[in-house]
């Protein structure tokens, strides 16, 4: 009988061992990376997808509602300078802690925006970018260093921010934001930073956000010039109201041809983070119905008042 059973089970150990090894490795890697596994293409942005149950045994499971906005003694010390601000106070800081911001595009604009949002204490930040770090990015994309070349931008950015600001929950959405996964992804957040590097994505983020009634900050740079505006659907013009449609490729000179500097994108990315902070904390006046323009070469800032376009197809639909 025993011999029969042994003969029956003998072929299995190798298979079981292989399976167990594979299972352990997947678990180990996901725990080490603290990656929120999000599969692009699902309707809700993949937030239901598999998540690691914390980095260390006993650590609480991750949740979008992780931050109840309460401030610890350490928080009060860390955010002292923000709390001191007139009109901000501990209440403003609590609102940031409870806030959720999605940063779309982790390049020249997204780098400073993400750093400042995390440093300021925004509780939950989503990051999305389908690109990998290129050596030519390092001149202006300050999230990355020499060792990150070739790595996924979203993973490298998440890693950098987690190491600097451990109390901020970073959600990595793998791949690009698309028309298919965008609605579900954007729905998870209170505010969006549109920091993409092409017109197609800029219009896509606009259309998704306006459709969902989600506020967002737009910015764009090229050469020494940059601009920013904030869209709060229903409260002012959207990006399409002003810029219409994706321009033909030959019409607009891109930073690939014209060049640009980190400081130009840095200035505008900081403006974007400021807009998110103002929106979450409920302070100040947003760039709604106003385009902020910045010429870095002459250090000239301007403000252009923007009208709502009554025939804008995106605004009409929502």
């Amino acid at each position: 009988m025993a011999e029969k059973a042994l003969r029956f089970f003998r072929p299995f150990p190798f298979g079981f061992g292989l399976f167990y090894f594979w299972y352990s490795m997947v678990n180990l890697v996901s725990k080490c990376l603290d990656v929120v596994w999000i599969t692009p293409g699902y309707g809700n942005g993949g937030a239901h997808a598999r998540r690691p149950m914390g980095r260390f045994p006993g650590e609480a499971a991750f949740s979008m509602d992780q931050h109840d906005g309460l401030l610890s003694e350490e928080d009060r010390l860390r955010y002292q300078r923000s709390i001191l601000l007139e009109g901000f106070g501990p209440e403003g800081q609590r609102k940031l802690r409870a806030g959720r911001v999605l940063v779309v595009g982790l390049g020249g604009l997204g780098s400073p925006a993400l750093y400042y949002l995390a440093a300021a204490g925004v509780g939950t930040i989503g990051v999305v970018d389908g690109d990998r770090v290129d050596l030519s990015n390092l001149q202006r994309q300050i999230l990355y260093g020499d060792g990150d070349v070739g790595q996924s931008k979203a993973l490298a950015a998440a890693d950098r921010i987690r190491r600097c600001y451990g109390s901020v929950a970073i959600i990595v959405h793998e791949g690009r934001l698309t028309a298919e996964n965008g609605v579900g992804m954007v729905s998870l957040y209170d505010f969006v930073i549109e920091a993409t590097d092409n017109f197609e994505s800029k219009f896509l983020v606009n259309d998704i956000c306006v459709g969902l009634g989600k506020p967002f900050s737009h910015a764009a740079v090229s050469g020494y010039y940059g601009q920013a505006m904030t869209v709060v659907p229903g409260a002012g013009p959207c990006y399409r109201c002003v810029f219409g449609n994706v321009p033909s490729r030959d019409a607009v000179i891109s930073p690939d041809e014209e060049g640009t500097l980190g400081m130009v994108a840095g200035s505008l990315g900081a403006v974007q983070a400021m807009e998110a902070i103002k929106y979450l904390a409920g302070v100040g006046r947003l760039l709604v119905g106003r385009l902020f323009t910045w010429d870095g070469l002459t250090s000239t800032a301007r403000e252009v008042t923007l009208p709502v376009e009554p025939s804008c197809p995106v605004c009409l639909k929502s």
Partner: protein, 66 residues
């Protein structure tokens, strides 16, 4: 004829269309959005829309970098 372009006062020697103004300034019409007196002007109307005394024109660059 006095007009204001991007916040700066300019003297136009003769009346012009938006297209004419852009040409005078050496700006590619496909690369900008033009706002006249707080109204965005459809690019298809650049050849017909006239610039008049006292108009406030904003020429906004299309930029897509990030």
């Amino acid at each position: 004829m006095q007009i204001t372009v991007n916040g700066q006062s300019r003297d136009l020697p003769h009346s012009a269309t938006i297209a004419g103004l852009l040409e005078l300034l050496g700006v590619n019409r496909k690369a900008v959005v033009v706002e006249k007196n707080l109204k965005i002007i459809d690019r298809a109307l650049f050849d017909r829309e006239l610039v008049q005394e006292g108009d406030r024109i904003e020429i906004i660059r299309l930029v897509g970098g990030g």
